[in-house]
Amino acid sequence: MADQDEAQYEANERNIVRTWRAWRTVHEMVHDRGYELGEEEVKIPLEEFRHKYTNADGSLSRTLLKFSAKPSDEMQRKFMPPATPQNTEPVSDCGTVWVEFLDDSALGAEQMRKFGRFCADNHYKSGILLSNVAVSSSAKKEISKFSQWTTIEWFLEDDLLINITHHELVPRHVILSRDEKVALLKRYRLKETQLPRILVRDPVAKYFGMKRGQVVKIIRRSETAGRYASYRLCV
């Protein structure tokens, strides 16, 4: 009996640590995308996490694991579409983001629909759903149905245990704004299609929530040139 308790305790402990790491990574991700988050929110220590998000019996309460973040002024400026005669006062493409950890044993179409509806009803421009179980194919099809109102992204907790952008082999990625993209294409006299490409499902592109058509600047270290910048178009 004691052995069983011990095993259960260990499993619970492992679960808490894993979720804490995913919680940290998702905060870093939201921060890196340009949303406003405080330093103490991003770098939450394990003890504090345990104190805040566990029930009295020491088990994790996933219902509490949710937060929203507002885009910073800089980010809003970056993703502002250009003013046109028809649309003299454009609204920024980015809005408040909603992040939630799935509190369910399965992620099917129903759960995805619930999440999408919640994000759309509360006017969140994008929603990030973290799941610890696999996503069914019909759930993925649901995402496109909400594209008119909100952008839904989903991540597996397993993929967010470490922050991949902190790895030494991952160079710095910077998303270019519309103006910067136009300037780049003009400077090198390129068409969009002549740029090298990066897939939407690329882990780093997913981390930054890139959309098709955006350009990312990748800054590498170079032995000969010091720094070397290359550009990739998201497809």
Binding site: S105, A106, L107, G108, A109, E110, R113, V133, A134, S136, S137, S138, K141, E142, K145
Partner: protein, 277 residues
């Protein structure tokens, strides 16, 4: 450079044609938009059905099993799955599996879990029907019987889009183990079904024939609505009709458009003869 700034640049391209204000164009656009909207709605209903069917059977404690499901559940399943494509059905199975249920919609049992690790599993070891099966494939069902029942449904599904089949009532999905009916009952049922099928088939054929005939005669709807007014005017004929003749010469029949082909057959054969011998 100074002169350039005075004269604004002028494009050499043609001015874009303003969209036609023809009400007909708008009508066509609206019609197509409506069709697309209908398709979207149908796709939404299919997702609704997937969600609904992934929760069946509603009453798990009842004596009903997958081989003899409750009539209401079976009816719901049959009426909903009618619109599915095989890919939608696969989605339904994976959705049920995600909920921890057996892939067959009418089965109340949870899906099988294989404790061993490894990609593959040996089944029926030491028997004639021994085979090596991916573990994933086994874990989709509660047993081989349910897999068979589910596949029985799948092979009846059609690959054509749902909106093409939505209106056809004669599509009916049968379960693997329908309760055994008496021979006569079965025969009568089959007869009515065949009759319905025949009638539909005959109607379709008649419509198709009529359409083809109309096309052949040229009295189609498009002909009536033709934009250019076609008016046939007869040429007035003067003089008496004359039968064609070959002309004065004897070899008029050799002339084509006033030219007579010439070749010296004698010479050709002669030269052939000299070289040949």
């Amino acid at each position: 450079m100074a002169t350039q700034s005075n004269n604004p640049l002028k494009g050499i391209l043609k001015k874009p044609i303003p969209p036609a204000a023809d009400p007909k164009v708008r009508e066509v656009a609206v019609q197509h938009a409506n069709i697309i909207q209908q398709r979207k709605e149908l796709e939404d209903t299919i997702t609704d059905y997937i969600i609904e069917l992934s929760k069946l059977p509603l009453d798990r404690s009842s004596p009903y099993t997958s081989s003899s499901p409750s009539p209401t559940d079976a009816a719901t399943f049959k009426s909903h799955v009618r619109l599915f494509q095989p890919s939608d059905y696969e989605d339904l199975i994976s959705e049920r599996n995600a909920n921890g249920l057996c892939g067959y919609t009418l089965c109340p049992k949870p899906r099988m879990r294989v404790a061993q690790r490894g990609e593959y599993k040996l089944i029926n070891y030491g028997r004639k029907d021994f085979s090596i099966v991916p573990k994933k494939e086994i874990e989709r069902w509660c047993g081989a019987a349910c897999a068979r029942r589910a596949m029985w449904i799948k092979v009846q599904l059609n690959d054509t889009s749902a909106w093409e089949r939505a209106g056809i009532d004669s599509i009916e999905i049968g379960l693997y183990e329908e309760p055994k009916k008496t021979e006569e009952d079965e025969a009568a049922r089959r007869l009515t079904r065949d009759m319905a099928g025949l009638q539909v088939e005959a109607e379709r054929k008649a419509a198709k024939d009529a359409q083809e005939l109309a096309l052949e005669r040229g009295d189609t709807d498009e002909g009536a609505k033709r934009k250019v007014d076609v008016r046939i005017q007869e040429n007035s004929v003067k003089g008496v009709a004359e039968e064609p003749s070959l002309g004065k010469d004897d070899d008029g029949h050799l002339v084509t458009e006033g030219y007579k082909t010439k070749f010296d057959s004698q010479k050709n054969t002669a030269s052939k003869n000299t070289t040949g011998i």
